[in-house]
Symmetry: C2
Subunit: 111 residues, 2 copies
């Protein structure tokens, strides 16, 4: 299992500073990704493996959603043994797009 994990390509990341606003908006404008971001915001950094989120999608779709979040500068990932763990890039994203995460993390604006 550890051998299989080590053969997996490391995830590619985009820094929020290199993300256009349309990419950021499109990444957040999806119910599954909004749930991932909200759950990450409520969790310790690096505490959540990709499979630990409460979203109604299969493995391939989930992997796509995480790729979109990485490309939008919202999520950082690293492999820890057989698990891929996550953190929300909150300070970097906030510096680039002030207030956007605060807005989508509010629970009074619906989904």
């Amino acid at each position: 299992m550890a051998a299989a994990a080590s053969h997996r390509a490391a995830p590619e990341h985009t820094h929020p500073d290199d993300v256009p606003v349309l990419t950021a908006l499109a990444a957040l404008a999806d119910p599954v990704r909004l749930t991932l971001v909200r759950e990450l915001a409520d969790s310790e950094e690096w505490s959540r493996a990709c499979g630990s989120f409460d979203v109604p999608v299969g493995k391939a779709a989930l992997s796509h959603h995480f790729a979109v979040l990485r490309a939008a500068g919202l999520v950082e990932q690293r492999d820890q043994g057989p698990k891929r763990v996550n953190r929300l890039r909150r300070p970097e994203f906030d510096a680039r797009f002030p207030g956007l995460l605060d807005l989508v993390l509010r629970r009074d604006v619906g989904e």
Copy 2:
């Protein structure tokens, strides 16, 4: 021409207070609609007819984009003779989603 205009159904609007955040983000996460919103922000209220925007889409697509903007509480429209004119619902939208329009109207965050 005036008769034809009077037969057209009046546009339906959604108040920003009734708009979920995902709807607002999805409305803004499109290059054509972002251009419409930015041009409206730079124009006097009710001064812009639907055909006056510099966007590379046909009439049917443009009509769809305006319907999306109305449904997201971003744009108000009214018929003025043969023309349908527009205003950005900036104060109402700002009250519901503080900072979101300011962010997308910044020109230093790219498209």
